[in-house]
């Protein structure tokens, strides 16, 4: 079962809330303080991308964020309901190239580029019923206070 599950209307103003919740749960799970900025940024990127996909496909369902505290790692899944014809998306052209596009697609690719640059353990999948970005970070066990 997820430690915390968050559903939010696919609107840009709620992405900040998702970042704050994810960072708070990650901190509690034992993710290193130095890495929390990366968690915040990666979740924000994944949620922004999902919001964009829902908006461009006119999908009324919420964006899903699942935060899972496991024994030695903390995982985040960000799911959208935007159907894709292709099974797995590829990041092409690099971030700078993507940015030059300056459109929604460019932002989308740059978001993925940022995530893959930030997170070592990341998996992006997509199919007919939507897509999921899975990311995880190692956790350090709570220090024993003498």
């Amino acid at each position: 079962m997820a430690t915390v599950e968050l559903l939010f209307s696919a609107l840009p103003e709620h992405v900040r809330t998702a970042r704050l919740v994810a960072a708070a749960v990650a901190r509690r799970a034992g993710v290193d303080e130095a890495v929390l900025d990366e968690v915040r940024l990666a979740v924000g990127e994944a949620c922004s991308r999902a919001v964009g996909l829902h908006a461009s496909n006119e999908i009324p369902t919420p964006v899903r964020v699942v935060l899972i505290e496991e024994e030695k790692k903390f995982s985040i899944e960000v799911g959208d309901d935007a159907p894709r014809a292709v099974a797995v998306e590829a990041v092409a052209g690099g971030a700078a190239g993507a940015a030059e596009e300056a459109g929604a697609d460019g932002d989308d690719e740059m978001g993925l580029a940022v995530i893959s640059g930030l997170v070592d353990d990341v998996e992006v999948t997509a199919g007919e019923s939507g897509g999921v970005i899975r990311m995880s970070w190692p956790t350090t066990p709570a220090s024993v206070v003498p």
Binding site: P12, G94, A95, A96, A99, E100, G106
Partner: protein
């Protein structure tokens, strides 16, 4: 925290001081500001990011869009940033090669290369 924007003129440069969070929600405000400045004939921009707490790819896209606009008028867009967590985002996306990044507004304003 929301986005704060203020502009001032230093010589032939226009300094845009940005504060708060630049994300998918607030980035359109920054885009509007940059577009307005360029439409008003300000082609040499310095974006001071010292008070920015958060920047994501949407914000990067807006900055790249601003750069494209000023370049169309043979202008420039320089950034001022000393914050490691913000600089890291420029590094992992390769945009440190695209933007001149300065350590102070004075440095950015006097740069001519």
């Amino acid at each position: 925290m929301d986005l704060s924007l203020s502009t001032r003129t230093v010589g032939d440069r226009t300094v845009v001081e940005v504060g708060g969070e630049i994300d998918v929600y607030t980035a359109p405000k920054l885009r509007e500001q940059l577009v307005e400045l360029v439409n008003d004939g300000n082609y040499h921009l310095v974006v001071d990011m010292e008070r920015v707490d958060f920047l994501d790819s949407t914000g990067l896209g807006v900055l790249v869009g601003g750069l494209k606009r000023v370049r169309a008028h043979e202008g420039s867009l320089r950034l001022v940033c000393n914050q490691e967590r913000i600089l890291k985002i420029f590094r992992i996306t390769g945009l440190t090669k695209v933007f001149p990044i300065h350590t102070s507004v004075d440095d950015a304003v006097s740069a001519t290369d």
